[in-house]
């Protein structure tokens, strides 16, 4: 597929960038409405406790307090699944029980919401929290999932007979793994653990809710899945969907965390109770303890190879820690298995996972969603096998990666893949041949490492991957594009403008994005699973195509030629054969709207798009590290990400996604550790003084390589690129450490203490 493109592929400036640069962008936490109250939440200091009694009187009597709600007040509303994801899927009719109330009479984790107040300002709201008297009955608690699975462990959920919230099986099993492992020439195995990484969105979770004059509920929500959130909110608060209007403001970071309901339910409850507008902004500490963060896993992995390096079997068991509520954590294992068992050709595959409830803050979706956890082990084991088989880590990967035409990770045909190019070009950029496998001496030792991976472009066929786009042409040839992806910073408005403009033959700046209001936008699944450019992009492309056909038909009539003979570009329609016959898009659109010949038409196109395909992006990650053998300190000095994400609609935006993923991957690999005190259940890392995400000085020299080859199914050849950039970072670092000092770290994050410990063991 080669197409001459005039808008797609350009490094255009984002429509919202100037407003963000000047402080004029309005985020949820910036909103003020006349008469607005400020909400605050009282949270459990215990990991597991029954609320025996709440004395509200002192707090309620504090001047300026307008409402105080407790579990008793919120019992009238339905329990919910904050993960919102009960869409049909192929992996066995996955549903999550609605196990969480707006407030709960039994605290199931440190930081669980017990009560909430609305007051005329935040100082009074905070003072009121201190005046609420709660009598708790402390209950036995369990932090470790293995302990939680033992008979007699304290029971956390109300619905399951044990603490195993969900058992998941790999969706695409094949062959006979036990037999294949028995027959393999080389078997590598190990247990790899990962931590509960926090999203650290720059803006905290925030929501604003008010009731309008007709009794409708208006909610400013950061949710990545606005339409699903509206449906769930209507369900929780016993309202028809038409009574709820959800507005998506500018969102200050998300990375999967806002894929679930966050501050919305409590904020809405306070607004309903007071009848007044309420704003609820979580503190940074609440972001750490009250929201979902990455699911921590223990993965037992076993991989078999033939002598010549051919991979024959992969067996996976994942044990995941869900926390006090189900959230969307269970899916992290399903996704992890699909991707972990997906990018290598492998005739024998099996995987099982237990997702276990514990008295810890809830787990959920975070960039990569289970994929980084499983690749952390798989990619280290592949290196181990390469060493045993006396092969180069690149060679063993090149031998086993899937090629175009094979069955991809989601059970669909792999229409295009350029992972081989990623490996080769990335290796060259890091200086693999000169650096890898050399004998290292001295106090500080350098090494290079590689990891490869694949991911997804949308949720099909696991979830119902449904997007809508509507485009209408204005009388001056500009267009309004009505869509509702979540603007979380990924430059989606720009990408969709480029797709629509390319198809309509106009310029990207001619497109006005109409969005963020469920009253106006058609149904949109939302922004997760690296799907917005791919799925909303395809909806946009098809809607624009429909409008273009109308433009061409009317232009053909106006020019008195056949519409097949016409081309459209640079805001002009012209005849391919007779260049003199030409008319502007604006003239056609104006004539259609102000038509005095009885043929009025607002040129427009609409597409209800359901993805039937999934074009997996794939990439190779290369790290160069320096290890101080005296201190165990690991420094990443160079990092290369080479990515096949199809045609880059805007290379600058794609680079941004991959560079950001790199940073989150380096944090996941080296410094970010979510620490829960085993004796008290208290979260000890609840702000940036104790939880270390990489700063500007922690970033290495970086290079991003975009392969930029179009995929047959993506809009103008694009694939998803939001998530893949962080997936292979940590294992590439671990493999580089092995190259430097000959030891493997299997437990994330790779702290100096862990490195030193294995080095001392070696001595």
């Amino acid at each position: 597929m080669s197409q001459k493109l005039s808008v797609v592929g350009k490094r255009i400036i984002q429509p919202d960038a100037a407003a963000k640069a000047t402080g004029n962008a309005i985020y949820a936490s910036d909103i003020t409405i006349p008469g607005m109250l400020i909400g605050r939440v009282l949270r459990s200091p215990y990991p597991h406790a029954k609320i025996k009694r709440i004395d509200k009187s002192k707090a309620e009597n504090l001047p300026g307090v307008e409402a105080l709600i407790t579990p008793e007040d919120t019992a009238q509303w339905k329990k919910f699944d904050r993960g919102l994801k009960d869409l049909p899927m192929i992996a066995g009719g996955y549903t999550v029980p609605a196990d969480e109330g707006v407030l709960n009479e039994r605290a199931r984790h440190f930081g669980d919401a017990i009560a909430a107040v609305a007051a005329i300002n935040e100082h009074i709201a905070e003072e009121a929290l201190e005046l609420i008297e709660v009598e708790y009955e402390e209950l036995p608690f369990v932090i470790d999932p293995e302990e939680a699975m033992k008979p007699g462990a304290t029971q956390i959920s109300d619905f399951a007979g044990s603490n195993i919230g969900k058992h998941m099986s790999y969706a695409f099993p094949e062959g006979d793994v036990e037999k294949a492992l028995g027959e393999a020439d080389c078997v590598v195995e190990g247990t790899f653990t990962t931590t509960k990484q926090e999203h650290c969105t720059a803006e905290s979770a925030a929501a604003v809710a008010r009731i309008d004059i007709s009794g409708r509920l208006i909610v400013w929500s950061q949710c990545q899945l606005a339409h699903l959130a509206r449906r769930e909110i209507a369900h929780i608060f016993n309202m028809p969907v038409r009574k709820v209007k959800l507005i998506t403001p500018v969102i200050g970071g998300s990375f999967g965390q806002r894929g679930s309901l966050c501050a919305e339910p409590i904020c809405i409850a306070l607004a309903l109770k007071t009848g007044k507008p309420v704003k609820l902004v979580y503190s940074r500490e609440e972001n750490f303890i009250a929201l979902e963060s990455r699911t921590g896993f223990k993965c037992n992995l076993k991989i078999g190879f033939k002598k010549d390096g051919t991979l024959t079997a992969i067996q996976v068991y994942m044990l995941g820690r869900l926390g006090g509520y189900m959230g969307c954590g269970p899916m992290a294992s399903a996704i992890g298995m699909i991707f972990g068992l997906g990018h290598y050709r492998c005739p024998n595959r099996a995987g099982e996972a237990d997702m276990v409830m514990t008295n810890t803050p809830v787990s959920g979706a975070f960039r990569g969603f289970g994929n980084p956890a499983i690749m952390w082990g798989i990619e280290q084991l592949v290196d181990e096998a390469a060493e045993k088989l006396n092969m180069d880590p690149l060679t063993i990967r090149l031998k086993n990666i899937k090629r175009a035409g094979e069955i991809a990770n989601m059970g669909l045909c792999l229409e295009s893949t350029y992972l081989e190019e990623c490996i080769k070009r990335g290796a060259k950029a890091i200086g693999w041949r000169e650096k890898w496998g050399k004998t290292k001496k001295g106090k500080t030792r350098r090494g290079v490492g590689v990891a490869t991976m694949t991911h997804c472009s949308g949720a099909a066929p696991l979830y119902l991957d449904h997007s809508n786009a509507f485009v209408k042409l204005n009388e001056d040839g500009s267009a309004d594009l009505v869509v509702h992806p979540a603007p979380v910073g990924q430059h989606i408005w720009g990408a969709l403008s480029q797709i629509a403009a390319e198809e309509l033959g106009i310029h990207a700046e001619d497109i006005n994005i109409v969005t963020g209001d469920t009253d106006v936008t058609l149904f949109e699944y939302g922004s997760d699973a690296s799907r917005s450019t791919y799925a909303v992009g395809n909806a946009t492309l098809m809607a624009a195509h429909e409008a273009k056909e109308q433009i061409l038909a009317r232009a053909a009539e106006m020019l008195d030629v056949s519409s097949e003979a016409l081309k459209i570009s640079d805001r002009k329609i012209s005849s391919r054969t007779d260049p003199k016959k030409s008319i502007s898009v604006a003239e056609v659109c104006y004539d259609a709207i102000y038509n005095f010949k009885g043929e009025c038409l607002n040129i427009s196109g609409k597409c209800s798009w359901e993805s039937k395909w999934n074009s997996p992006p794939a990439g190779a990650f290369f790290a160069e590290v320096e290890v101080n053998t005296d201190t165990g300190q690991v420094t990443v000095i160079r990092f290369v990400t080479a990515m096949d994400c199809g045609k880059a609609i805007n290379p600058m935006a794609v680079e941004g996604q991959l560079e950001g993923g790199m940073q989150q991957g380096i944090g996941y690999g080296l410094t970010e550790d979510y620490v829960i005190n085993k004796d008290t259940g208290v979260v000890e890392t609840d702000n940036y003084d104790s939880y270390k995400m990489p700063g500007i000085l922690d970033m290495p020299k970086t290079k991003v390589i975009i392969i930029d080859e179009p995929d047959p199914k993506g809009p103008f050849g694009a694939k998803g690129v939001g998530e893949p950039g962080m997936v292979g970072v940590a294992p590439a670092i671990a493999n580089a450490i092995y190259d430097a000092i000959g030891v493997r770290i299997k437990d994330l994050p790779i702290t100096p203490e862990k490195v030193l410990e294995v080095l001392l063991d070696l001595r």
Binding site: Q14, G489, E655, Q663, Y688
Partner: protein, 160 residues
Amino acid sequence: MKQIATFIVNEKHYELAIEPHMLLVEVLRDELGLTGTKHSCGIGSCGACTVLIDGRPTLACLTLALTVRGKDIRTIEGLAQGTTLHPIQKTFVEHGAIQCGYCTPGMVLSAKALLDKNLNPTEQEVKHALSGNLCRCTGYIKIIDAVLAAAEAMSKEAHP
């Protein structure tokens, strides 16, 4: 008890009655409606609330408002001239240095404090100047590019 104090923000004088415990970030956001100054960690670890006080980058979430009355307070809203962006804002926009944008005001102001003193910084000097500002989206790569490009543009402007 509230006190009357005069604040000079972006060269405009404001007389306000404020509680002595109020933080500068609250006065800017809640009293003056200048929500470009962001609140994020609340403990001075992330730099989202950075403003310039007499040209020096200062964390508004740790600054008691009354301690800066009468001083020259500069927020992100005071950088552009009408609709013309400040060169640092312009390069942030053009280089794709803005994703979610929530850290951007603080980043831009930290960069301004650097470039107002040093129009020819090295990459390392840029990194040190921004080391108090956390960003979760960009990996900082395009932010560094943008600041270096702004330095070049401002330098050309100063010495044409």
